[in-house]
Symmetry: D2
Subunit: 339 residues, 4 copies
């Protein structure tokens, strides 16, 4: 058993139950332009719009929001949110992060529209995390096919973080109760983890870690019904004059087996439209290793991702509202494309 | 060689060039309801709306119209139209129908909006045919994916006639230069033709003949991009509260190999949404026979078509504006489902 | 809150963790014919074949089997199996069923090839249930696209039972820790439950209950990648001369939103090929009600299911190896198609 | 009207009827490797295999072959073939090429297995063209879905030539009776044609011209049923260890609207798998212009084609069996990607 396999084997059962990745709040420089992108072009539902912010959800989602767009001076990620199984999990998480010496604060019910009491922390690596349970039930629109447009976007699926120290961040998320489903590592004696996919809900992931300058948000991903939804949204974006929003794909991932396309929103925030991964919910589900030199690992069909996909991602705001400082990665995720 | 095979072998090269089936004009009892169906729900483009009539086309079509909806007291088919290669073909066709003793009249340029001079005839079996060449070029919208809705409908594909004497009508269309691509016949010594698919453009058909009470229009068909377009429009119709518009399908045809669904418009006119047939343009293309007892012939997956699909179709108007009388079929097309 | 809503609200957290529906063992009259159907035509993997039985799995499945075919004199269901989170759950379940006075027996490790110790019980309604945790890990073939055939079948999804007393059986499964995601009930004051979908894993269901003569297995369902997989397998079945295996569909379910087709295997056992349902894992996920008179409830596109789909299903074997007696249903599930 | 528009307007009706592009004969260095690629992986049918050569066709094709693979010392294109409407057209074409002073020879019936008498010419730009009418009818397998594998490949669609003088070659093909459906040209006063799509059958093209070092065969294209066929074959190629065969795509073309992928066979010959273009058969069908600077022209979604796609293509054999010399293009097709 290699050192990386040992690392992956260190699963834990912490005293709180994080159910899944749930939403992101993006700071955007032009709210109308962003709404045009996410609502009109990609096909999300605007649940509520207040002064300077909009709360959106997908067509299968019955909760108030899975994406917040907030007008601000500089594009950034205000926070990423995970839903816990009950309100008592918030207190257990507060204990956890207090013990780790992390900055945190309580968000009162209603401070984030549609949401109950929530815990905001800045995790040991700088990511602004929000944990919540209560959120207004506003109703799903799964079969309102006659109103759907764009992809359409059905539900929030996962978060992908650019991290400078993949193994350390990986251990942190395992300690929060996440389990690895797939990972990329270097070959040879000095095996190093360069990417990892961790899940709470029984899909391939809720949180993925990509080696790169971080902490930054590489992308968030929304779930579509099927591959033809991915093709349709590309056709529509190009037809509407937004061809430059298409950064990478459509294609099949080796990791996760999903069919995907990566888009850049008007501020450069990256969204993945994602479908077709697989069930991972049994406790003995074996994590799948990919060599960083396998050309099929990132793109099952071998297509090289553009440099921007490796180099660029969204900066984060700390709890103090200031941009979080970043460091370059200690391993090179891009070995695969240079092999 | 059987008698039916001999019949099919009697191909001709008449002195005129009918290119393809091109449009239908339907009399509808509520123009707004029909426009909601064809424009909003199925996704056609309204090129022009005049008092009491609307002219629609598909997204790939650059000519003025492929469907005319005209308000009138009683639902019926005003005429079905075929496009000829040049205006000189109209005169040659006038000679042909004069020799056959058919009623006919010239339609002046502009009498049918967007269309040039045209010939209207009532064929020997009672069908109101229009032949035309000139039509206004208004431009295709093939790649306006961001504006498309419904299926969407891309272009006119074919006509299907309910006829009481399939073999006689078959011979007539062969004499107009059409060629059989597929046919259904009874088994045994007394083989009889019960259905036929004839083409000018190199697809499976421009005109199909189905044994049944006729002359009536069984359906007209519009082409979609792919099977998922058929599924999408069914989802949208059901979601919009029009589930009763879905009469048969979606499914795969044995004949033609197409993927299809049959809908009934608000007046009961039947439209087929159709995709995926094959190239038939070489002169030695062998006509394909199906036995009327093969359950895969009408539905490759064996699903029984509802009785309405066999029994009901749209009545025709003659050149005098009166409903054309019908007779029951001399063979039973439905043998297949009773076998 | 109606009586049925109250019933649905009675969720429990029992002292055992059933993870999901996992496999079925069918008694088949001709093992070779059944293997041709499930392996060659539908595209499953044969993990192991022993004298008189075969153990199959889908392409995403890493465990030994999700379908057992066992040669026997009379077609029947030997047992249906659910996987529990750990071996300690087996003992807790034994306590539960002992308290209920159910017949049960322990299956030793290896008695069912590839499987560890398991508990077999005959539940209060006569269903032969197997609970297990340990099963040999033999490896997934998710991306062996070049070897896949048929649909292909990816993984086991759910069980559907014909039950004569839907509400009583519903309460039983809720007491085992299952939660309702959708249900069908009659309209009016005397609301009665006629169908229910209950889940452990966060999809629409692991177990569904359909009012009808029971106890019988209405069908088991396997997951496919996408709707085009469903269409492909129908094309292949018809081409291979197995058109009569296609009983109902393809189509979209109102309930569950899934795209489906129902097939009958050579012994008449019914298998559903199923894809595209939705995430249900949050504890406040609201159960969705359908009226039994809504034509879209069973078939979103309104297509009437054939009588056989309502009337026929697979008989069960008790722990004594004898066929379990059945009773007619106390409510009529078919009201919908008669409305 | 620009100079290029004038050029396109010069349509002719020559005294012969070329129906469509029909097949290619490739010289391959390892026949077994090539057969594995085209037969096993892409899913074509081997109609006949003789010593040192194999004759393949698609599943919809009833004629003997649409692809010939012939073992030889150096990969090259032996000839590309077009089917004419009748044998008399061969004589008319012989007159045409004699008048142009081209080298030619008659191929006797059976010299190319399965094919009747044919005319081979080396056209004024060096391309080895074969014209034929008679070919053995061996039967289509359109609905043999249970036997199909790979994409599968349904039929031959078109040829794409690398030419150093696009406008001169364009005029030549127009004089053979072809008509432009789409074209790419430079902007501004000195408009120059850099690419053109010409058709006989009523699809977007039988022959396309791409500016580049020529004469060479850029690719030949086979038709698939739908976009999901393109995705499937990519999954299968990657799974089978042939990921390097995928050169460009899958994607949507701006030109032609088709959904495509470009593959390189074991000798580097390029095949396009192609589906979803549109009907072009009416004589007033308006040619569609694209600016060479429009990023959507080659790839509707803006994805940059790799350099190899512009630089590499298959060398041609002359009638003397020697490789035809090439010259660099007089315009730059790649302006688009540098804009």
């Amino acid at each position: 058993m290699s050192r990386v396999q040992e690392l992956i084997g260190e699963v834990t059962n912490p005293p709180f139950d994080i159910m899944r990745a749930a939403h992101v709040e993006l700071v955007v420089s032009d709210l109308d332009a962003s709404l045009h992108f996410y609502d009109t072009l990609l096909g999300m539902i605007v649940t509520e719009r207040v002064d300077g912010a909009a709360y959106l959800r997908g067509w299968e989602e019955y909760l108030h929001h899975s994406l917040v767009l907030r007008q601000g001076p500089t594009p950034a990620v205000d926070h990423v949110a995970l839903r816990v199984a009950g309100n008592e999990d918030l207190d257990a998480l507060a204990n956890e992060f207090e013990a780790r010496g992390c900055e945190m604060r309580w968000v009162e019910a209603g401070e984030e529209p549609g949401q109950g009491r929530a815990l905001r922390v800045q995790d040991p690596f700088g990511f602004p995390l929000e944990f919540f349970h209560d959120m207004d039930v506003v109703g799903a629109n799964t079969q309102a096919f006659h109103l759907q447009r764009g992809a359409p976007i059905l539900r929030f699926d996962h978060l992908n973080f650019h991290v400078s120290t993949p193994e350390r961040v990986f251990t942190f998320w395992q300690q929060l109760g996440f389990r690895a489903t797939e990972y990329i590592s270097t070959d040879g004696e000095d095996e190093q983890l360069t990417g990892a996919w961790l899940r709470r809900k029984p899909t391939v992931h809720d949180v993925a870690l990509t080696a790169g300058t971080g902490p930054r948000l590489h992308h968030f991903a929304m779930w579509l019904a099927e591959p033809s939804s991915v093709l349709r949204v590309c056709d529509q974006l190009a037809a509407a004059g937004h061809v430059h929003a298409i950064e990478r794909g459509p294609g099949r991932h080796g990791v996760s087996n999903a069919f995907f396309v990566y888009l850049r929103d008007p501020d450069g925030h990256r969204i993945e439209l994602y479908t077709c991964d697989y069930y991972t919910g049994d406790p003995d589900h074996p994590p799948l290793r990919w060599s960083v030199t396998d050309p099929r690992c990132r793109s099952f069909w071998g297509t090289r991702a553009p440099d921007s996909w490796y180099d660029e991602s969204s900066q984060l705001l700390g709890l103090d509202g200031r941009v979080v400082a970043t460091s370059p990665a200690n391993v090179d995720e891009r070995t695969e494309v240079m092999a």
